[in-house]
Structure formats: structure tokens, C-alpha cells
């Protein structure tokens, strides 16, 4: 399971891309260019990156309302994402979905989801389709600590084990459902403990350590792909930003934030790769420059794209 240098550099570049994408989104949001609200993935980049580095293009994922990192990690096109965030016709969903509903079925991305706990049953369903059709595909269900308390999540896990479905439930425990802290919202220290209720493996990993996430996911996905059934991985992590942009974050203190910022997954992996001499400073700058260029292109593509015409409102409700 040892990672090649090339794989590690790829994972670093992906994390960096998510971070820079989100920072760009925050800037556009502050400038009033993004309608609605956005939930940023800053601080959690190691989870989506470590998990998706194990996936094939035709594997499936279900995502959450904090989905940009998942989409980028599964190969989503940042131009189409950016255009969607700005509500443009050229976006992933023709401007009909927005941040919380971006999907790319060609990449197996079954959608971000505005409903907490909305995704797990869908994930078990996609896994059922793969099993039914005899394909060796897996589905990853990303869900948060908030969704861990939703009934849908437990129903999806139970059915997944009853039917031995090729699905891996990846919990992103960032400790908060908006203001509700896991210390008050559940009576177990580890969400992974709940796997025992369904007789599936449950492991806790440091969600800010991309290699640890990669390795845990690699084993869980191997089992799922080989027909050994589902499992649960809990990734302990933290969101550096508020629940949404503009969140005053009155429910947590600066000290806690700084503690977690000291464990910043991107910087941590960057330092590790520098120490291991897998990456050199010049290479880091090169990666950064390249992402910056792509982002600039994505932003101008999005800004220059037209809004949907009002007449398009009634299109796409039904399949003819």
C-alpha cells in the first residue's frame, strides 16, 4: 500500500487545488457574485483527497452540502463548478442547482446534497446497482457528523450490511452541525463505534492526515470491491471556516480554531513532502501557479458566461 512519490504529489496538488478553489469562492462570495450561500471545505481537504485517490472514474460518490472538495477530488471540472456557483447557464446544472446540488453523473458524482442525511440511502442504492449488474464498482458515501444522527444514515447502513453492498461510509466529523457540537449531539466519542451495530468494520482516522485517510480508505474499498461488504471510516477533522460564509461562529472559540489550524492538512502534508524530499519549493510554486492559472480561467469563464434565460425555468423537470 505504499504510495509512490507521484501519487503523493498528486494528492498534495489536489488538496492545494481544493484550498485555493475555496479561497477563491470565499472572495467571490464576499464580493456579492455568488447568490445563496456556500459551505466551504477549508480544513477538511485530506478527507476527500485521501479517499478519492483510491477511486476509479466510474466508481460512485454521494456528497454533502459541503461538497466542493468531493467534486474536485472525483475529477469535477472547476470551470463548470465555478459557473454553477455563479448561477450561470454554462454551469454543471445549467444554473438550476447551485453549490448544494452539483453533480456529474459521467464521473459517478451522484450529487452534492442539501439535505443532511439525504445521501446515504442513495449511496446504498448506487452500490446495489453495481452489485446487481455484476460490476466491480464501489460507492463512497461522504457524510458529516450531523448526518450521523439521522435515521436515513442508519437505514442505509443496515440495508447495506444486510445486502453486503459495495459501499464505504466516510464520516467527516468536523465536530459541528452548524452550532451543535458533537459533545452535545451524541453520547459516543467515536461515530465509528456505531459500525458495530451493523456488524461492519468501523475505524477512526486522523482526518487531517491524508496518508492515513488514503490507507484506511484503501483497505475499506478493497473489501467493498471484492464483495466483502460495507464499512465505516470516521475521519476526525475540522472546518476552518464557519458553517457557511458569513457565519459569526459564536459557538466555538479562537483557541480551538488555532489548535486545529496548527494541524492544517495542506500545510502538514506539504511539510512532510518537503522533509521527505519528495517535493521541492520550486515544485510547490509550480503547482500553485498552475492552479492559479486554472482558477483564473474558471472565474473568467464563469463571469463571462450568460445567466440562464427565464424561459428555461420549465425545462428539465421531467424526462420526455
Amino acid at each position: 500500500m505504499s504510495l509512490t512519490n507521484e501519487q503523493m504529489i498528486g494528492m498534495y496538488a489536489n488538496m492545494k487545488k481544493i484550498r485555493m478553489f475555496e479561497e477563491q469562492v470565499a472572495e467571490l462570495f464576499a464580493a456579492g457574485k455568488i447568490p445563496g450561500f456556500v459551505h466551504l471545505y477549508v480544513g477538511e481537504e485530506a478527507v476527500a483527497t485521501g479517499v478519492c485517490a483510491n477511486l476509479r472514474e466510474d466508481d460512485y460518490i454521494t456528497s454533502t452540502h459541503r461538497g466542493h472538495g468531493h467534486l474536485i477530488s472525483k475529477g469535477g471540472d472547476i470551470k463548470l463548478m465555478m459557473a454553477e456557483l455563479l448561477g450561470k447557464k454554462t454551469g454543471y446544472c445549467k444554473g438550476k442547482g447551485g453549490s448544494m446540488h452539483i453533480a456529474d453523473l459521467d464521473l459517478g458524482i451522484l450529487g452534492a446534497n442539501g439535505i443532511v442525511g439525504g445521501g446515504p440511502p442513495l449511496a446504498s442504492g448506487a452500490a446495489l446497482a453495481s452489485q446487481y449488474q455484476g460490476k466491480d464498482l464501489v460507492t463512497v458515501c461522504f457524510f458529516g457528523d450531523g448526518a450521523a444522527n439521522q435515521g436515513t444514515t442508519h437505514e442505509a447502513m443496515n440495508l447495506a450490511t444486510c445486502w453486503k453492498l459495495p459501499v464505504v461510509f466516510v464520516n467527516e466529523n468536523n465536530m459541528y452541525g452548524i452550532s451543535s457540537c458533537t459533545l452535545n449531539s451524541m453520547c459516543v466519542a467515536d461515530i465509528a463505534d456505531r459500525a458495530a451495530a451493523y456488524d461492519m468494520p468501523g475505524v477512526v482516522v486522523d482526518g487531517n492526515d491524508v496518508v492515513a485517510v488514503y490507507e484506511a480508505a484503501s483497505e475499506a474499498l478493497r473489501q467493498a470491491r471484492e464483495g466483502e461488504g460495507p464499512s465505516l471510516i470516521e475521519c476526525k477533522t475540522y472546518r476552518h471556516k464557519g458553517h457557511f460564509e458569513g457565519d459569526p461562529c459564536v459557538y466555538r472559540n479562537e483557541e480551538e480554531l488555532q489548535e486545529w489550524k496548527a494541524k492544517d492538512p495542506v500545510l502538514r502534508f506539504e511539510k512532510k513532502l518537503l522533509d521527505m524530499q519528495v517535493l521541492a519549493r520550486e515544485k510547490i510554486d509550480e503547482i500553485k501557479d498552475s492552479i492559479e492559472k486554472d482558477l483564473a480561467k474558471a472565474v473568467s469563464f464563469a463571469e463571462e458566461s450568460p445567466f440562464p434565460d427565464p424561459s428555461e425555468i420549465i425545462e428539465d423537470v421531467y424526462t420526455p
Binding site: 438550476k96 453523473l105 440511502p121 449511496a123 424526462t319
Partner: protein, 329 residues
């Protein structure tokens, strides 16, 4: 042609479609070994194995939700919710996930799935096993809502629903399961969104759904002896609604009575009445009357349940009122 019950016609539709398309699977509580609590899926497990006919735990959110995920990934699920009253615990997966996916994703998703459920009062099943909730589903863009009233319609509409690429809610009134009728043995389709004139008439249009169609036909027969000619229109599909057939009938008869078993307030009849008022007001010679259940949960005791369900007398009263014919008893 064969003589079949409503339940057998539905069973036949499952069987023929599953033979045709290997991507169709059936799932739900007690659909396999038990054959469905009303026998609709009887025999399917033996013919198609437990891969395609899946008994589930009591887990409505997961039954509906896995169907949505499986449909998005290429299968064509036909799931049974048992009683429509159970949709409450699974609603998110239907109306926020299944119904909206295509639109939210900019048109790219295709969600071919059928959710069957029985509905309706009349067997003393009380408040949580007797409801008619079709208006809830009609209110959701992205869903289709089908409600047959005869064995022939049941089979043709279910086959169309299974072949449709959208999420379809297929509602079966439980008093209809034993109803017999002539049904072709081969597969056939009835287009979704096409009403059927069950009886032609000149004096009044009675739009009715499910079991109420049969009551209305009986009433129409009785009224014909009193010189009243009632036309009975069965929408068959409530969404999409065949507005034109209803409007055409009203333009001919100039009077409209709507009969359904849901509570009257904000029921499916409210939409039909509003649509006719908007589009054919000038043709109406009398106010539109709805015959429907009172605004209460479905009661248990036989006397109360009988009071709850619209009956022939109430339909006759309504027809008498709109036709202004005092001779009708």
C-alpha cells in the same frame, strides 16, 4: 382476454415487464416470500429469484432511497411502500431526492422508478393505514401520480409507469384489489396523462378517481332512470393531468361534480376545480361541487368510517344540486 382481478392484473404487469427487462427489480416489505400483503407480487420471487425480488427490512427511507440511487445508476426499481400512509418516514427520499434530481442537476439525471402503495379507507384500518394522499404527490414537480380504477387500467398504467423514465407514484385503492374485469393477456400500455371517459353523458360531468369511479358509475346508472345523463371521467393520472378531456366534457355538460376519497380541503379536486374555473368558467351553468371526505383523520368505528367515505347518496345529492333537478332522489 382473460378475467382477472385488479391485483392479478398488477401482478401480470410486473411479470411481463420483468421478463422483458432484466434491469427491473422489485423491493419492499413482504414482497417476496409473502407475495405482498395484498398478493400483488405473488409468485415473482419464485420466477425471478431473490436478486430481483427483494424482501427488505421495515426501512421505508432505505427502500425508497436505494431505489433512487439504483435508478440513477442504471436500474429500474419497482418498489412497494405497502401502505401509502408510510410515506411520511421516507418522504425526503421521494420529494427532495427522486423528484428534484433531474432538475437540480440541469437535466442530466434519469430516474426511472415506480413507487407502488395501497391507499384508501373501507376496511377498518383506521387513521394511519387508510389515507388517500394523492394531493401530496401531485404538489411535487418531478413526480407523476397514477391512480387506476379498473383491472384493465391497472395493468396498462403500471406497464407505462415502469417504462417511464421519471419517478412515478402508483396508487392502488385497496378496495379495488378484488375487482374483476377483462384484461388482455399480453403487455399493453396506457399513456400517462390520458383520462378515460368511463361513461358518456350530456347533463353533468362527474370527475372521479379510484374507487370513487365505480361509485360514480353506479350513481350514473341510477340517475339515467330519472332522466339525468351523467358523464363519468376518470383522470387515471393525476399528474400529468389530462386537462383537455375534462374541459371538453365540461364544455359539453356545463356542470361539474368532482368525487374523491381524500379530504376535500386542498385535495386533488381543488386543483381540478380551479383548473376548470380558470379555463372554462364561461361554460359553467352551476357552481362546481366537490364530494369528498370531511377534514378529519380516517376514523376507525364502522359508523364513523362509513360517514367519512363519500357514498352514492352524497354523489346523487351533488348531481341533483348542480343539475337543479328536484326529481332526482
Amino acid at each position: 382476454m382473460a378475467n382477472m382481478s385488479f391485483a392479478q392484473a398488477l401482478n401480470d404487469a410486473h411479470k411481463l415487464e420483468m421478463e422483458r427487462d432484466p434491469n427491473i427489480y422489485v423491493a419492499g416489505e413482504d414482497v417476496g416470500v409473502y407475495g405482498g400483503i395484498f398478493g400483488v407480487t405473488a409468485g415473482l420471487l419464485d420466477q425471478f429469484t431473490d436478486k430481483r425480488v427483494r424482501d427488505t427490512p421495515i426501512t421505508e427511507s432505505a427502500i425508497v432511497g436505494t431505489a433512487v440511487g439504483a435508478a440513477a445508476a442504471g436500474l429500474r426499481p419497482v418498489i412497494e411502500l405497502m401502505f401509502v400512509d408510510f410515506i411520511g418516514v421516507a418522504f425526503d427520499q421521494l420529494y427532495n431526492q427522486a423528484a428534484k434530481m433531474k432538475y437540480m442537476f440541469g437535466g442530466k439525471a434519469k430516474l426511472p422508478l415506480v413507487m407502488r402503495a395501497c391507499c384508501g379507507a373501507g376496511i377498518g384500518a383506521a387513521a394511519q393505514h387508510s389515507q388517500c394522499l394523492e394531493a401530496w404527490f401531485m404538489h411535487v414537480p418531478g413526480l407523476k401520480v397514477v391512480m387506476p380504477s379498473t383491472p384493465y387500467d391497472a395493468k396498462g398504467l403500471l406497464i407505462s409507469s415502469i417504462r417511464d423514465d421519471n419517478p412515478v407514484v402508483f396508487l392502488e385503492h385497496k378496495l379495488l384489489y378484488g375487482m374483476e374485469g377483462e384484461v388482455p393477456e399480453e403487455a399493453y400500455t396506457i399513456p400517462l396523462g390520458q383520462a378515460d371517459i368511463k361513461r358518456e353523458g350530456q347533463d353533468v360531468t362527474v370527475v372521479a378517481t379510484a374507487q370513487m369511479v365505480n361509485l360514480s358509475l353506479s350513481v350514473a346508472e341510477k340517475l339515467s332512470g330519472d332522466g339525468i345523463s351523467a358523464e363519468v371521467v376518470d383522470p387515471r393520472t393525476l399528474s400529468p393531468l389530462d386537462e383537455e378531456t375534462i374541459l371538453e366534457s365540461v364544455r359539453k355538460t356545463h356542470r361539474l361534480v368532482i368525487v374523491h376519497e381524500e379530504v376535500k380541503f386542498a385535495g386533488s379536486g381543488a386543483e381540478i376545480a380551479a383548473m376548470v374555473a380558470e379555463k372554462a368558467f364561461d361554460y359553467l351553468d352551476a357552481p362546481i361541487i366537490r364530494v369528498a371526505a370531511p377534514f378529519t383523520p380516517v376514523p376507525f368505528s364502522p359508523t364513523l368510517e362509513a360517514e367519512f367515505i363519500p357514498n352514492e347518496d352524497k354523489i346523487i345529492q351533488a348531481v341533483k344540486t348542480v343539475t337543479g333537478n328536484p326529481n332526482v332522489a
